[in-house]
Amino acid sequence: MNSLHWSQHLLVVPVLLPLIVGALLIPVNQKRYVLKFSLGLASCVMLWAVAVALLLMADGGHWPAGIGVYLAANWVAPFGIALVVDRLTALMLVLTATIALAVLVFSARRWDRVGVSFHSLFQFMLMGLNGAFLTNDLFNLFVFFEVMLAASYGLVLHGYNLRRIQAGMQYIAINLAASLLFLIGVSLIYAATGTLNLADLSGRVASLGPQDAWLLQIGATVLALAFLTKGAMWPLGFWLPTTYASASAPVGAMLVLMTKVGVYALLRVWLALFGEGAGALGQFGFFALTLGGMATLLFGAIGMWASQDGGRMAGFGAVISSGTLLAVIGHSGSGVLASGLYYLLGSTLAMAAFMLLIELIERIRPPGAALLAITMEAFAIEDKPEDPVGVGIPGTLAFLGLSFAACALVIAGMPPLAGFVAKFSLFHALLAAAPGPVPATTWLLMGLMVAGGLAAIISLMRLGVRTFWAAGVTMPRLQFTEAISIGSLVMLCVLLTMQAGSVFDYLNRATEGLLRSKDYTQRVLGEPPVQRVPGAELRP
């Protein structure tokens, strides 16, 4: 084999494309925002197309065992970095690209103009997200986490004002400390096993001596602390609601996705290390994840109940959804995991839409333009972006109300939308997974999930009533782009509900593959590098 088939190179596109586009956008003057926006949009559309292509390839039998491997710089697997795409990775890439597209369209008329380098940071963040999904190497995962976080630091501060600075300072400090934990965990795992390649690791765990196994457990726990800080497990997630509430709407929607990366990385690493084939270490830590997830659910539910403004509510909604996912990972039998992933899809889409919606809802209330005034001063942008007034689309209030209701239904898990399907199938899978009598923790988990849904619906209804039925509601004016991005996210939630059957089929295939960690070891370590035949380039 003298070169790779072109389709094989698609694996690296989700990392390279945003990197190149983001770098190209830096020297472009901030005033040429139409050009900047178009480039960013083109990149997002291409990312979406590539992600869908990868999904079709992973699911369509293009690769053995549905796992595609790309050896970066042609180094053989345990020595070089391998990018791996399987059904779950492809799904996360599609989710990322979809939300990124919606968020970018949303920010088209306003948010990309209130500060500098919005588009570059956005692309770098996408690069970090995609890389974190694709990589099969722990240290490379750290690098992509840092890329993603560094971009998010800039984005959290986007539209620089005092509130964002205050929240951003804590957000950055916590994440810097968590990154150090990440490094400690990675180096302990390396000390114990001598490799950082996930596929290689999962093959070696069973044969470790007791000393090394002990070290590996400590390392994995420290690493998990770093992931759980991102994934906002109680008590590591106190930073989340404040950061969400103070970030600008498009950034908040991307943060929703970032929280899920922590959960995703945890799932990946944990199944590779302590899943099937881990020998004596099998199932280490899964129960702790269940307990942590339940505590997080409780924290989220109480917080949701107590919060008054939309941003904080969204933050606690994200905490609830993280808690549910963590508890599900703790239970990770195949059926439970598939339902959990379905829940992840629905809740991520709905939360992202909700984050965007909150900003529009704020416009119904008497305008507080203080934020923009400060921003303008700080950056001295000459031509001010037009105020958030655009074309007054008729029926905006109805549109906002309906979208709000749809998001609330998904977040709270009420019928008829995706949230309900997810929770129902989770309950079903949890009850079916237990052999013999259902353990008390499962009952407790289900009770907490119901309580979380109840808290969500009560507080969201309170917010909705206070906003939409309040006296003196001003007729909001929306941009067409804003309406279309929220509308499409909500429609996706509806589509997800209608196509629940085929989505579940896909997710079942994904989780079955995920639980067979031996396939990964074989595929990744068995991937042959491209052999350069000497003189082959000279041939005509």
């Binding site: 240290f139 630091y153 501060l157 400090a173 400690i184 990675v186 180096s187 390396y190 000390a191």
Partner: protein, 113 residues
């Protein structure tokens, strides 16, 4: 040598923890930097401690026990660069916060007396 290294990593990291729990941003960033130095030393030590062994093998057929593990050294290099960049970013942010809020408290405002 292991003991000396372990104690120094511990002392540096511990000082870092104490500092990041302090209320001023300068103390916070000093603490983060100390912690990152300690972590870098720690990663370095995870390749085991060797004296006088080169990390790079000249030819393929050599006894690997004569050489130090090069990977942790590569990791440390990457970690230093990334830590440096994020620290610089945090410094910029600190200065911005100081200018905007008029306070160097980590909450962005002076605590009420």
């Amino acid at each position: 040598m292991e003991l000396v290294l372990a104690i120094s990593v511990g002392v540096v990291f511990g000082s870092g923890i104490w500092l990041i729990l302090r209320p001023r941003t300068f103390q916070l960033i000093t603490g983060l930097m100390l912690m990152s130095y300690a972590v870098n030393l720690f990663i370095f030590a995870m390749g085991r401690l060797w004296v006088g062994k080169p990390p790079i093998t000249p030819t393929p057929d050599v006894d690997p026990s004569l050489f130090a593990d090069p990977l942790p050294q590569g990791l440390v290099l990457t970690a230093i660069v990334i830590g440096f960049a994020t620290t610089a970013l945090y410094l910029v942010m600190m200065i911005g916060a100081r200018g905007l809020s008029g306070s160097d408290h980590v909450d962005g405002e002076e605590p009420r007396q």
